[in-house]
């Protein structure tokens, strides 16, 4: 196994945006689901966003209370990147146009 390959990738600082994208920002949303354990959700938030356990658990609490948590708001390509990273762990993550 190539131990140098990191299963959690980091976004580039300046992701190029789609030139004609009609929506400028998207919310990366994680939804409650009946499969994933709370500890797994906390762990994945920490890994993907490099958050502290405290911040990750705040989002977990919001997710459990409201059924979803907005994790970040970002340009389309960055939001898409984060959704991919979360889906690699099988979290129910989507990108929704920011209000």
């Amino acid at each position: 196994m190539d131990s140098a390959s990191d299963p959690v990738q980091r976004p580039q600082p300046h992701q190029p945006e789609a030139a004609c994208s009609p929506v400028s920002t998207y919310e990366v949303v994680c939804w409650d689901d009946p499969v994933n354990y709370n500890d797994l959700l906390t762990h994945v938030f920490m890994q993907v966003f490099n958050w502290s356990q405290s911040v990750a658990e705040q989002h977990l609490s919001e997710l459990l209370a409201k059924g979803k948590s907005v994790l970040v708001t970002a340009p389309p390509e960055t939001a898409e990147f984060y959704v991919h990273q979360l889906r690699y762990y099988q979290l129910h993550a989507t990108m929704e146009p920011a209000a």
Binding site: V23, D39, Q90, P97
Partner: protein, 155 residues
């Protein structure tokens, strides 16, 4: 399965014979129970989202191919010890790969069961496929707990 070096750089675990057999079989079972992309990339339709959804599915398929190769390599890292137990030493990246493999199996089993909202024991007769899917969900959940909970101070 217990972690043995909480202050060490690598992630080192010791498994008894039963846990070894379970984890070894799970890793060699992968990817028999594959998730079937249960969720689209967005709940709100917007321009370009169909293409983004296709890209997501392609990325997941490619990522899963990588996991399939790495699952076999992870199984080979289970090494017998003199006392009859087994060791598993992982880098941080390998640990994340193992978590992804386990949860991919867990999600695939949930899809096999028809994506039920509540994971309750079957009220009526269950097929062999359903029983296996439930067993995989339980066992993968156990190993996920072992890999994560202690690190969060929850074990």
């Amino acid at each position: 399965m217990k972690r043995c070096n909480p202050a060490g750089a690598d992630w080192h675990y010791v498994l008894d014979q039963t846990k070894f057999v379970l984890l070894n079989n799970l890793l060699n079972f992968y990817p028999a129970a594959r998730p079937v992309a249960p969720w689209p990339i967005s709940r709100i339709a917007s321009p370009g989202m169909a293409e983004r959804n296709q890209l997501l599915n392609e990325a997941l398929a490619e990522h899963r191919l990588g996991l399939e190769q790495q699952a076999g390599l992870l199984a080979k890292k289970l090494q017998p010890l003199a006392d009859g137990s087994y060791s598993l030493t992982l880098t941080a990246a390998e640990r994340e790969t193992l978590i992804q493999v386990l949860n991919d199996l867990r999600m695939g089993s949930w899809c096999t069961l028809g994506q039920p909202e509540k994971l309750e024991p079957p009220s009526g007769p269950a097929t062999e496929e359903e029983l296996i899917a439930r067993a995989i969900m339980e066992v993968t959940g156990y190993f996920e707990y072992c890999l994560i909970a202690a690190d969060l101070g929850h074990a």
